[in-house]
């Protein structure tokens, strides 16, 4: 009705009503389908998928198929984990239709409100109930808490005497390099006697103190074949055993209740054997050898390093003394060398000085000789010169004596002249001076005469 305004014209000539908007038609179809009576249908399940809100699967039989869906919360309330392919189920519900939209596809489904697993599905449902019960009672935990020996010496194995699982277990143990004691507890593994026999075998093995771990192994088979390993008594017995049980029953897609309660669940008997002996013997030997080497190395190093340290400490004083001795020796050598160098230097310098002195002595001797010669020459010359000079001086002296005598007033006095002197003995050469003197002395050739000037006769020559 939402797009009536845009409704196109119908097909010309058609007697059918419409055209109607497809959404309207889908909504009315959904309403009509929901009016269908709710019923129970049964068939085999295929394509089971669990989503967050819903689970989906198809129910098929030879006559046809029906797509089914169920709200996830209703599915979870049933307590069924998952529906295996082909599981026969009875489903209750009614038709429903998802009308889709412009961006999502429409889908028809049978809306399931309840499911009952039938046939093998009944068996699975029973197992699931028992599984939940075992979990609820905590019986899946005791085995997992048991300590598992890394290197068991005695291993018990519960398996069919003629099955391939026996060889697989041996292959797994060989792969580990394990060659200890293996105790076989053969038991039927697939008929109605299997579960009690397996239970008894496990109890007997656990009763042997030497047995440290038990492997329960069986090859693949149908669910009915494996049902013996889902026996409640067996599972409760295993949960209480003192030895850890490693289970390997069926294929990896199967999971029996024994797998739940066992300490370890493996996919194949070979893996179960390897799980029972976690240590690979050759590798363990190598690791042990390496550990031994490291221990010895550490032990040696601990002693040697400390011994070296002690030796270093004990040698330290001697080294100190030796170092000083070496240094002193070095100083001594340097001193000696220095002294030798000094002496040599002194000798060389003394030699040089001696040589210089010698040269100087020679020079002095030569000088002295030359001086003596020169002195002699000078003496000779002096002698010669002295005589000459003496003569010359004598002659000069004579000449001077003659000249002096010529100028001597006495000589003049000798010739009759007189020298007039005053009272002080100074010569008087003028009339004025003579007139002023009270007395005069006349020096004559043979003596002095005191006279008194007469002022009346004193006159100056013009």
């Amino acid at each position: 009705m939402s797009e009536l305004g845009d409704r196109p014209a119908g097909i010309p000539g058609s007697e059918l009503t419409g055209p109607w908007p497809v959404g309207d038609y889908a909504a009315r179809l959904r309403a009509r389908l929901r009016e269908f009576t709710h019923v129970q249908v049964f068939g085999e399940v295929f394509g089971f998928k669990a989503g967050r809100a819903k689970v989906w699967f198809e129910l098929r039989d030879s006559g046809g198929a029906l797509p089914c869906s169920m709200w996830r919360r209703e599915w979870d309330a049933l307590g069924i984990e998952e529906l295996a392919e082909g599981t026969q189920v009875v489903a209750a519900g009614g038709c429903d239709y998802y009308a889709g939209s412009r961006t999502s596809s429409p889908a028809f489904s049978f809306s399931v409100t309840d499911v009952r697993v039938a046939g093998e599905g009944d068996l699975l449902a029973q197992l699931e109930r028992l599984r939940r019960a075992l979990h609820a009672e905590g019986l899946c935990e005791p085995q997992k808490r048991l300590p598992r020996p890394a290197l068991p010496k005695t291993i018990g194995v519960v398996t069919g005497e003629t099955g391939k699982a026996r060889d697989d277990v041996l292959a797994g143990l060989r792969r580990r390099g394990w060659a200890g004691r293996l105790v076989w507890a053969f038991a039927p593994v697939q008929d109605r006697h299997a579960a009690p026999a397996i239970t008894r075998a496990l109890q007997d093995l656990a009763a042997c103190e030497e047995v440290e771990v038990v492997i329960v192994a069986r090859g693949g088979g149908s669910l009915a074949d494996l049902f013996a390993f889902c026996d409640e008594t067996l599972c409760r017995t295993v949960a209480m055993l003192r030895v850890p049980v490693v289970s390997s029953v069926g294929h990896h897609t199967d999971r029996t209740l024994l797998d739940d309660v066992a300490a370890v669940a493996c996919s194949t008997p070979t893996h179960a054997a390897e799980a029972a002996v976690p240590v690979q013997r050759d590798e363990a030997y190598a690791a042990l050898g390496a550990a031994a080497v490291r221990l010895e190395r550490q032990s040696r190093r601990a002693i040697v390093e400390r011994a070296r340290a002690l030796a270093r400490l004990s040698r330290a004083p001697a080294h100190h003394v030796a170092r000083h001795r070496t240094r002193l020796h070095q100083h001594l050598r340097e001193l000696r060398a220095s002294a030798r160098r000094g002496v040599a230097e002194g000798e060389r310098a003394a030699g040089e000085r001696a040589a210089a002195l010698g040269r100087k002595a020679q020079a002095a001797e030569l000088g002295r000789t030359r001086g003596a010669a020169r002195a002699r020459a000078d003496a000779a010359a002096l002698g010669r010169g002295g005589a000459t000079a003496l003569e010359r001086r004598r002659r000069d002296l004579d000449r001077l004596a003659v000249a002096l005598a010529a100028h001597d007033p006495q000589q003049t006095l000798e010739r009759g002249y007189a020298l007039v002197e005053d009272a002080a003995g100074e010569p008087v050469t003028t009339v004025a001076v003579a007139a002023a003197q009270p007395a005069l002395t006349l020096r004559l050739r043979d003596g002095r005469v005191r006279v008194r000037p007469d002022p009346a006769v004193i006159s100056e020559e013009p």
């Binding site: 020996p149 890394a150 290197l151 068991p152 010496k153 018990g156 041996l170 143990l173 390099g177 394990w178 060659a179 200890g180 004691r181 293996l182 105790v183 076989w184 507890a185 053969f186 075998a201 007997d204 093995l205 042997c208 030497e210 002996v277 240590v279 013997r281 363990a284 030997y285 042990l288 550990a291 031994a292 490291r294 221990l295 010895e296 550490q298 032990s299 601990a302 002693i303 400390r306």
Partner: protein
């Protein structure tokens, strides 16, 4: 010394050896402790080697009733 005061198992012995080596590698152990650890380590290595030897002598296969019978007879089982 944990795990060695009572009868050790192979795994406790291996764990102790690793702990001893880790302690020695740390260089924090003194001389006396080092020597004691080395001595303890040697003992544990010998123990582990004995354990490995014990499961390397040759596979001994017994049926359960044979083991039970021999245990009841109070004598050690022999190889089959």
């Amino acid at each position: 010394m944990t795990g060695t005061a009572t009868a050790p198992t192979y795994e406790t012995a291996c764990a102790r050896i690793e702990a001893i080596i880790a302690r020695l590698d740390s260089g924090e152990a003194g001389l006396r402790e080092t020597l004691e650890l080395c001595q303890e380590g040697r003992r544990l290595v010998e123990f582990c080697a004995t354990e490995l030897e014990a499961v390397g002598q040759g596979l001994e296969e017994l049926k359960l009733d044979e083991l039970v019978a021999r245990l009841e007879a109070g004598r050690s089982p022999a190889a089959t």
